[in-house]
Symmetry: C2
Subunit: 289 residues, 2 copies
């Protein structure tokens, strides 16, 4: 127990999986609130999460939420709009609402159409995850030092934005603000396109060739093991930006292809040097050895 006043009295987590469970655990351990409510579809699973002390209480009905200060919706991206809408209907004007979805523009745009939503909903994307899933793998330190993007729109009140930034900071995240559209454009290149390319490469390799794949293949295609349902939903919510990014990738591959076919090794070398520069800059920024 901390002596300082917690930021919120009660927080509700909608969707208690790896992401939601880790937020619950992180918030509890850092005394960000006094009480964590878990909302999910399966009461047996929620009971287990309570027994593991991730949450203090639970319910299977979003409409049961009443006096809660903050709701974090951690369901798959294609369910966020529906779940946030129900949360907004169930809770009073004073309840703040955010989400943890990895796409933002479609969600924020849909929700902005709901009367009164803008004054208490703001989108969030904590950039951390794991190849594991389920609250059993929840980690109180999953978010420490990682980036979180909050995505205000023009009408977002400053006080709401400040509160949500402060919440993620209290989980020791490095928070940045950008528009939902900018977020989706950036993430199309840093997350969604790498996933699509990894999947395409994994799909192309013949079964008999798999024995001759070394560390390069291992790392490049790791994320292709990700849940197809989850990623279909992510892709479908960021179609426009992902199509643009895929076009750019195909154009770059075509340049490599033409240079190889023409024997233009200077062009190949120049591109590989540019790629190496970007990668090394990334490693330096992220403190990768």
């Amino acid at each position: 127990m901390s002596d300082s006043q917690p930021q919120f009295d009660t927080i509700a987590i909608v969707g208690v999986g790896l992401i939601g469970g880790s937020i619950a655990l992180a918030a509890r351990q850092r005394c960000v609130c006094r009480h964590v409510i878990g909302i999910g579809r399966n009461s047996e699973r929620l009971e287990q999460a309570k027994n593991q002390q991730l949450i203090d209480s639970f319910d299977t009905d979003i409409r049961s939420l009443e006096n809660v200060d903050l709701v974090v919706v951690c369901t798959p991206v294609d369910r966020i709009v529906k779940d946030v809408t129900e949360v907004l209907q169930a809770t009073p004007e004073t309840t703040l609402v955010t989400d943890a979805g990895s796409v933002k523009a479609s969600i924020c745009c849909e929700l902005a159409k709901i009367s009164g939503a803008t004054s208490r909903f703001i989108g969030s994307h904590p950039l951390a995850g794991s190849h594991q899933s389920g609250f059993e793998n929840a980690d109180a330190d999953l978010y420490v030092g990682r980036k979180c993007v909050v995505t205000p729109i023009l009408k977002t009140p400053q006080a709401l934005q400040d509160s949500i930034i402060s919440f993620w900071q209290s989980l020791e995240m490095d928070v940045r603000s950008m528009t939902p559209e900018d977020h989706d454009r950036v993430l199309a290149f840093t997350s969604h396109l790498p996933h699509l390319a990894a999947a395409a490469i994994a799909e192309l390799v013949q079964e008999t060739a798999l024995d001759f794949a070394a560390t390069g293949f291992r790392d490049t295609t790791r994320i292709a093991a990700g849940d197809p349902e989850l990623w279909t939903a992510i892709f479908s919510e960021n179609t426009e930006q992902l199509v643009t990014a895929t076009d750019e990738l195909m154009a770059t591959l075509q340049r490599y292809r033409d240079a190889l076919a023409d024997g233009d090794l200077n062009e190949v070398r120049k591109r590989l040097q540019s790629a190496q520069r970007h990668r090394l800059l990334y490693e330096k920024r992220q403190g990768i050895e």
Copy 2:
């Protein structure tokens, strides 16, 4: 010192970097030979490698090689033909020669044109490496349990093939034989295409977006940090197969792109499922958790 008879009296390693140094160290530690000669361009570096007990003696001139039982050429792929040719000229008919290059068809085809080469040269590709370089990072266990491909051609004598297979097995490698062309076709998909795609993705990401790259980007683009010179050489020696593989990747990306643009989520899901199946099969085969 082992009591058993070593397989070779003297082995020469041409090019004492990470690969050559690790082969030297592995062979010495497993008593595969009595003496290891290092051949390189820089006598100061070779002296250091000798002081680190990777090699027993050294020379900067391939032509100094005379009474040696096996020569393993570990220079970059665009220097292998030249170096093997010099080795064949310098050594007697009884000296066996192989290499460690990651492309095979162009090298084996060029060398087959040299009179007498086929009776004592056979290509090899030990599938192991590191993001590190230099003999300082040599590892006696780099090859343990890893695949090695030897690439006989029609005229390769069975005894030569057996000796080289036995050599790699004595370093505890899992050895397979295939034609140089089959090797290059397989490696285009399992190694060269992943490298090209990783480089293309790394190149496309804007500098300002790098802060918002998470674990997917980290792993997918890791190999883009590789040496541009080395990879330009590899690509240039396997142009035909790599162009074919790049065409297939672009066609697959186009299918994703069209499905996304058309809102055909079933197609997207089906492809992601196929990719996941391939990746999980790979993980199972390689014993990745």
